[in-house]
């Protein structure tokens, strides 16, 4: 089963942690990612730049409106996503609870939804062959 794991952190933490400590922490995180990768658990993911570098799109009265920096007022922000291959929810919990990144902030573990059937039906409605 695939799980999308969202790691949250307070951006201030990165700014205030001494460099040496930060390096040690990142080394631990990357070493654990390598371990996950070597055993087929890490199937994708990416770190995110701070929310101030991003934008938010929203539909207001039928018009798409773009604003900067989504949810910047919240203390903890999504710092990265990890696509995890695990046998079940408990296995995912175990793998992520050992990730050194949990010391930065909370992680959200969400099972991936299977939309294959929905896409197939939609393709039939649109009269186009299903995407591969």
């Amino acid at each position: 089963m695939k799980f999308i794991c969202l790691g949250y952190a307070d951006p201030k933490l990165f700014a205030t942690t001494p460099e040496k400590e930060m390096h040690a922490m990142m080394d631990r995180c990357f070493a654990y990612d390598d371990h996950l990768r070597a055993n087929g658990h890490f199937t994708g993911g990416h770190a995110l730049q701070p929310p101030s570098a991003g934008m938010l799109l929203r539909c207001v009265n039928g018009k798409v409106v773009a604003t900067d920096g989504p949810f910047t007022e919240t203390k903890e922000q999504i710092g990265g996503i990890l696509i995890l291959e695990a046998r079940d929810l408990n296995h995912a919990v175990e793998l992520i609870s050992r990730h050194p990144g949990v010391t930065f902030g909370p992680w959200e573990i969400r099972p991936a939804a299977d939309l294959d059937e929905m896409m197939r039906l939609s393709a039939a409605r649109r009269g186009s062959p299903p995407a591969q």
């Binding site: 089963m1 070493a31 654990y32 055993n39 079940d88 929810l89 296995h91 793998l95 099972p111």
Partner: protein, 415 residues
């Protein structure tokens, strides 16, 4: 050795997982001394198989291969952590010193699984956590499968398992089969979990059937492990009871999925192989003279199984068994079942007196089967109005749709 196609291999590995993960995990827990490390190593070994087997072919003894690979994976994991934490260094060294062994199969001890069952059913764990943990760790079901079977959400089950595991770790619950004076009480807790699983699957309505039937299958599988590894009469008695009840599964429901009473069942649909096995097990348990309530219930089921037609049932024998059972385990539900047997021998009036006695003592007032039984006795005594009244009360108390349909049918018969 053969070189399998990737899709075949995944299916094959799933089969290996369902059949062997309990044994592999149990052995790894003993070798690594820790449930989490064992699980981690086992999952890594299954992933390694997925990568290695397409090239090397499926090994002659997949279980031994998986145990040996998991052990190396665990050493790797301990080493990786040792780079950051010196405490893990000596664990990796100690594990490595033991070596991979000539064949990992030799590392397995027959009672590894038994230890794991006793750990998962430890009385320090919450009762609902015991069943979830046993299904996951011993039977190899996923959290999501367990959640579907018990009709609760996956995060709820996941929480129970996380808490139970933390408790095993923090309270250092030992990974062993209790001995001596401790065994009977602890065995009772294990058998209770297995029987609960069986009933969860057996009494379920046919609507949500598939995963539920699987629970009964898993319970019987566990029962066989217990019986095979532990020479205790009640372990044998419980397996006998489950096997005998299972033998009637096909006859228990009609085409519409409605409940069929024992006396109305098509006995040719009973599974004779299971009956023969169950009867032999009952005899084995009874011969020890140290049997308990599970064996007596199995003996009652065996008497029913021995009657080719409902009219040939040896009700006197069943009454005697219920007398012994009630003495051993005084419970109102057993007293109610005994009343049904007494009615067969001494007539419905004798049965009704027993049921009314129970109800007058305030027992089973909210139990639909008590009122359904009362309705049946009243009907046979020609007290139609009393029968209708009792049937209506039973209907109001029944919770499963199938029971409700059954009672509605009987109410209609009463006119």
């Amino acid at each position: 050795m053969s070189e399998p196609a990737p899709s075949d291999l995944r299916a094959h590995l799933d089969t290996v997982y369902r059949a062997e993960s309990g044994r592999i995990l149990a052995t790894l827990v003993r070798l690594l001394g820790n449930l989490e490390a064992a699980e981690d190593a086992m999952h890594d070994a299954f992933n390694a198989a997925l990568q290695a087997w397409p090239a090397t072919g499926i090994p002659a003894n997949p279980r031994a291969w998986l145990i040996s690979t998991a052990r190396f994976k665990a050493i790797d994991a301990f080493r990786r952590r040792a780079r950051f934490d010196a405490a893990h260094d000596h664990i990796a060294a100690a594990l490595h010193a033991e070596g991979p062994g000539p064949a990992a199969a030799a590392d397995e001890l027959p009672d590894d699984r038994l230890r794991l069952i006793f750990t998962c059913c430890h009385p320090a764990l919450a009762p609902e956590a015991r069943t979830a943990l046993t299904l996951r760790e011993v039977c190899g079901l996923t959290t999501e499968e367990i959640a579907r079977a018990f009709l609760v959400s996956a995060p709820t089950i996941a929480q129970r398992i996380v808490r139970a595991k933390a408790k095993i770790r923090d309270e250092r619950i030992p990974y062993q089969v209790p001995a001596g004076a401790e065994l009977p009480g602890r065995l009772h807790a294990v058998l209770a979990v297995v029987y609960l699983l069986f009933n969860e699957g057996y009494s379920a309505s046919s609507g949500a059937s598939l995963t539920r039937v699987e629970l009964s299958t898993e319970a019987i599988r566990l029962g066989r492990v217990l019986h095979g590894l532990l020479p205790e009469p009640e372990a044998t008695g419980l397996l006998a009871l489950m096997v005998l009840q299972e033998s009637r599964r096909a006859a228990r429901a009609d085409a519409a999925g409605d409940l069929v009473r024992l006396e109305d069942q098509d006995r040719s649909a009973w599974d004779r192989t299971l009956i023969a096995e169950g009867v032999a097990l009952v005899e084995q348990a009874l011969a020890t003279r140290r049997f308990g309530p599970y064996t007596l219930q199995a003996a009652i089921a065996a008497v029913h199984a021995g009657a080719r037609r409902a009219e040939e049932t040896d009700w006197r024998q069943i009454c005697a068994l219920y007398d012994a059972l009630l003495e051993m385990q005084p419970s109102p539900v057993i007293a109610l079942n005994r009343a049904v047997a007494v009615a067969r021998v001494a007539g419905p009036a004798a049965g009704l007196a027993l049921v009314d006695g129970l109800l007058a003592r305030g027992e089973l007032l909210d139990y639909h089967l008590a009122h359904a039984t009362r309705a049946d006795f009243c009907r046979r005594l020609g007290r139609v109005e009393d029968a209708r009244e009792a049937c209506r009360r039973a209907l109001a108390l029944a919770t499963s749709e199938r029971d409700q349909r059954h009672l509605e049918g009987r109410l209609k018969e009463l006119g």
